[in-house]
Amino acid sequence: MAPATAAQPLEFLLNGSPVHVDTASPNMTLLEFLRARGLTGAKEGCAEGECGACAVVLVADEGGRTAFRAVNSCLMFLPMAAQQEIYTVESLASHGALADAQRAMAAAGGSQCGYCTPGFVMSLFAEHYRPGRTGPCDTLALAGNLCRCTGYRPIRDAALALGAPPDDRFRRRLGQASPAIGAVEIDGFARPSTVEACADILARDPSAALVSGATDLGVDSNLHGRRWPTLVSVEGISELRDFSETTTGVTIGAGLPLTDIGRAWREAPPVLAEWLTLFASPLIRNRATLGGNLATASPIGDAAPLLLALDASLRLAGSGGRRTVPLAAFFTGYRKTVLERGELIAAIEIPRPLPALVRFYKIAKRRLDDISTVAAAMAIDQDTAGRVRRARFAFGGVAATPLRLVEAEQAVEGQPWNEAAVERVQDVIQRTLTPMSDHRGTKEFRLEVSKSLVEKFWWERPR
């Protein structure tokens, strides 16, 4: 179906200079575009956001502040770059003088074969200039970049050697506003600026597919050659990036990158930081959103278990109007949801008060930057007598959808939270869950680990 308006040129700022792309395949990645222009510092290492060799930096708004954000350029479709401001490794050195991040990496011996180096440099550069950073750079900022040569110690040394950023053109850039990410409509790609406009496009074009951070869809495109006649990005809808915290609840825009949730939620429970740290990698979190993670409805998505344990609801919006659905009723089957054609997730609502005790656990092969074998979130409220007022046991990786174990919750509510209660929950897990066996874990392992996590949750209760 023809787009509503004529194709527009795609424009953005690349390394400080305006770039104008007349025709672009909507499936071309930013990485492919950069490399075709001779900017070959960013490399393709995996094309699925696992290795960070392709990292570049975007100038982004961080709740009113401007910041550099390192992202995987292999997971950004080129049209998503429209109106953005992008820096690649080639832009960091000026008149032969290396940027501090580059100098530190070179001095520490942090670059051996060097293939991963530009990606590490960009992650480190963004961390070096992170607004409000005090103390050395956080090595967690490097968790999305893989290196096979060094053993990481020299790279870590480089990060720890970096102090405050210099007063240079990059720091001065942070003193100004980030670019406004507005509406775009070109052949095969649309970025509306309102929910209504978005719903319109979806209603008009049945082949259109929604995309948020593209950290999942991009993998489908790059590795499986999947194509969509029209991609509709929600990145320009400011409502989807809202965050509000009131006495009755917290509302998180479905299109707010995960990184921003951690920053915006000022009175967040400790579980939030635990959860975000384990959620993919910084390079992914800088683009990925809750809306995307939930809408893709993967049984091993990391968002659902915690949000289920927090009794979240989803605010859905579409051409037919708006409605709110409890997350527990959102997933209807393997990769299926109640979302109707032309409908999108606008926000996630988490009611207050939050449970007094809530934890998130992720069992994966690797500590960070991994897919869950089993993910679990558990919450408990007790009355003054110590009886369970509210219990939530939510799991991913144990069934076709993320789910809450309502039977287990009922089995402990009104009872003391003790080892006997733990055993009742474990019994429900054993009887009712039917995880599958695959190369990430056997059915038996998943069941065993799920049961032991309940015990862990009990042991880790505050005492």
Binding site: T40, R148, R156
Partner: protein, 752 residues
């Protein structure tokens, strides 16, 4: 943190220091051009159609629809591919038979990636499926599916005999028999394979991501039947190899064939999945060991039978190392290696080749018998290791016709044990009672280095700057820097005036390549010789301006030539060169390292302390000491990084990187980073790893240096298994040590 290099030596000005790589700026700015970064106007994009079956004959293949696509410039199948095998392999670039799932069946080149992808889908292939086998022992059984007319066993079993092992086992006071298994593992680098091929008439230029440009050169000259001078292979910047790029591969042949047919340059770049499935990855080993000892703590007989899963084709480059024969004294040793072809992808030499797997078996069984005998596992090792002057085999046969020199394994063990405080280990394995149990383990290893032919050129330019040219490669081990430091030390010209050309078969003399601990000891000696040749010419040219002083009475420091006895008499190298008006060139070449009875090896000892969570099976590395003999370190920073990086790769094998195959379909289930999980910066806290460079000096390498790259990757699996045993009393004999395996082992009744 590693300890300071404390080797006392001659008045060295460059060698033995710390310092960043000379090409660090190119790498951190993104200016370093890797093969995939090369762009030639009019260059085509190549794509490979791969077999969906692990074993089949191609009954029919139709490429007509793909050829009809606008923008497709060439399509090739086995019908028009040269019938010449890839060097070191039984594989044709394209054949009418496929032997692993993912093998190339057809290739095409088109004007852009989208066209190539579209056209590839239009090739139709009819397969006649054949039965397949994935396990090396199954593959040797009667009735097993056969990959080759002469069977699945590659050549004869490799046998090595010393003494009489059966008699030795009979004479032993204690014999134990064990089985150790390492699965196929992926251990490659960050850069997927890439090559760009361009023909000019009968001349081929091939840019390739390879460790061994001249091996690729040899493979291609044979394939296209052209003189050596007609093929130029360039491998300038390589994004890691770790052995997987040390042998010629089908991709280079495919790109060259396609470029020749299309009469246009062609780029073939593998995806990560292709890189994992069609690479030469670490081979599976199934090792059966019998070990006999005498009550006096001496090792008496060692019998090793190994089944090596070579995968479909590779022939020359697999197998165990010398852990069974070269580390410990034993009067009776027998090793038998069955190198078996199966329908899994090609395997090959990967960091340490078979040494990490063999070290896992030998160092585990050494531990097991010491514990059964009530001996301290470290004392048992110290009692039995080969020391300087001990007999050792010079070649691949068992006869101990050589004499070990410049060995420092005892010092490695002592340094590591002291740093780890070995005596802290549990006197009784598995005695810690809490949920989290700590334990300490040890593993030793050794290897040779520097084998084969090497060459290099050094050129001093008219302004006194220096060019070092070599055809081995810098794959991240820092050879551009190390080799330049060697020449800088010889010439007295500062490193800042050096440039290198690496991995270019047209610019540099023959060199086998960068693999097997060989670049420093091979190419490094050639560079040293080339630099000395230059030095003589410069000094001779300077002599007339220095009152005809004899060259032997002159020296160069900081690019200034001085009369040693009268340093005030001096002239700048640049001035001499300008007056000379011709650049100075020196060539160096080396052949076999060891010609006499002296045998020099490189050894190391690793000590690890682990904490095992007995409820979750999680293993946490508390402290890891990697003590290595590197001879004299040329660049201490580089050596430390190599030790730490290799140690992490060894550790990675304990936790993941296992390639798993579906027994029903032959498909690899772990063809991505998502499933292989190489460690991130936060998986192993690098602060717990400590590299110790044990003071020593080699006898063959430049300035006493020894090759190092492989060794640090060898001991991890064994050291961790031994530490887990010390912590929990549970012995793991199958890699990787997953939580599920540890939990299962902990729940089994304990053998005493």
């Amino acid at each position: 943190m590693a300890q300071q290099n404390t080797i006392a030596g001659g008045p060295l000005n460059v060698v033995g220091k710390r310092g960043p790589n000379i090409d660090a700026v190119e790498r951190v700015t993104g200016r370093a051009k890797y093969t995939g970064d090369i762009d030639i106007p009019g260059m085509l994009v190549a794509r490979v159609l791969r077999s969906p079956r692990p074993h089949a004959r191609i009954a029919a293949i139709d490429t007509s629809k793909a050829e009809a696509v606008t923008g497709v410039r060439a399509v090739m199948t086995y019908k028009d591919a040269p019938k010449v095998m890839i060097w070191g392999s039984r594989q044709y670039a394209l054949n009418d038979r496929v032997r692993f799932k993912g093998e190339a069946v057809a290739i095409l080149a088109a004007v852009d990636a989208e066209t190539a992808d579209r056209a590839l889908k239009l090739i139709t292939v009819e397969y006649e499926p054949l039965p397949f086998v994935l396990d090396p022992e199954e593959a040797l059984k009667p009735g097993a599916p056969q990959l080759f007319p002469d069977g699945n066993l590659e050549g004869q079993p490799r046998m090595l005999n010393r003494g009489d092992v059966e008699q030795g086992l009979k004479e032993s006071d204690k014999v134990i028999e064990r089985f150790y298994h390492c699965p196929t593992m992926w251990s490659g680098g960050m850069e997927p394979r890439a090559c760009v091929a361009q023909w000019d008439g009968d001349h081929l230029t091939l840019w390739a991501s390879t460790q061994a440009p001249f091996r690729v050169h040899g493979s291609l000259t044979a394939m296209f039947n052209v003189p050596d001078a007609n093929v130029r292979v360039i491998s300038s910047y390589v994004g890691g190899g770790f052995g997987t790029k040390s042998a010629p591969h089908t991709d280079e042949a495919l790109a060259a064939m396609l470029a020749r047919k299309a009469r246009l340059p062609v780029k073939l770049q593998y995806t990560r999945e292709e890189e994992i499935l069609d690479s030469n990855t670490r081979f599976e080993t199934k090792i059966y060991v019998r070990l006999g000892v005498k009550k006096d703590m001496t090792l008496h007989a060692l019998d090793v039978k190994a089944y090596i899963n070579q995968g479909a084709y590779h022939t020359r480059l697999g197998g165990l190392g010398n852990q069974s024969t070269h580390v410990y004294k034993s009067p009776h040793v027998r090793t038998v290696q069955y190198r078996v072809h199966t329908n899994i992808p090609n395997t090959g030499p990967t960091r340490g080749v078979g040494d990490p797997q063999e070290t896992f078996a030998i160092e585990s069984v050494m531990d097991e018998i010491a514990i059964e005998m009530g001996w301290d596992p470290m004392e048992f090792r110290l009692k039995n290791i080969k020391r300087n002057g001990d007999p050792i085999a010079r070649g691949a046969v068992g006869t101990e016709d050589g004499r070990l020199v410049a060995q420092a394994l005892d010092k490695c063990i002592e340094a590591g044990a002291s740093r780890m405080q070995w005596n802290r280990r549990n006197a009784v394995a598995g005695s810690p009672t809490g949920t989290k149990a700590r334990g300490i383990g040890i593993a030793c290893t050794e290897r040779g280095g520097g084998a084969g032919l090497a060459g290099a050129s050094v050129r001093v330019n008219l302004d006194g700057s220096v060019h070092v040219l070599f055809a081995s490669t810098d794959i991240g081990q820092g050879s551009r820097t190390t080799l330049s430091m060697i020449a800088s030390e010889v010439l007295g010209i500062p490193l800042s005036l050096f440039r290198t050309t690496a991995g270019d078969t047209e610019m540099a003399p023959y060199d086998g390549g960068s693999y097997g601990n060989r670049t420093l000891q091979g190419t490094g000696r050639a560079v040293e010789a080339a630099a000395r040749a230059c030095l003589q010419q410069i000094l001779a040219a300077a002599s007339p301006t220095l009152n005809n002083a004899a060259p032997a009475d002159l020296e160069i420091r900081d690019s200034i030539i001085r009369v040693k006895a009268d340093p005030a008499r001096q002239v700048k190298v640049a001035d001499v060169m300008q007056r000379r008006g011709r650049s100075v060139t020196g060539d160096g070449a080396t052949a076999a390292l060891q010609t006499g009875v002296d045998v020099e090896r490189t050894s190391g000892a690793h000590f690890v302390e682990v904490e095992v969570d007995k409820e979750t099976g999680k293993v946490h590395i508390i402290k890891y000491i990697s003590a290595h003999d590197v001879g004299r370190p040329i660049n201490v920073t580089i050596v430390e990084n190599q030790i730490e990086g290799g140690t992490i790769q060894g550790l990675a094998l304990t936790q993941g990187e296992e390639m798993r195959f579906d027994e029903r379909t032959g498909a690899c289930l772990t063809g991505s980073f998502v499933d292989l999980k190489p460690p991130t910066a936060l998986d192993f806290d690098p602060r717990v790893i400590e590299a110790i460079i044990v003071p020593n000096e080699g006898t063959t390498g430049p300035f006493g240096g020894k090759g190092l790259g492989e060794n640090p990757c060898h001991p991890g699996m064994a050291a961790v298994a031994n530490a887990i045993y010390n912590a929990t009393g549970v012995r793991l004999r199958e890699v990787p040590f997953t939580r599920a395996k540890i939990l299962r082992a902990l729940s089994e009744p304990r053998r005493t």
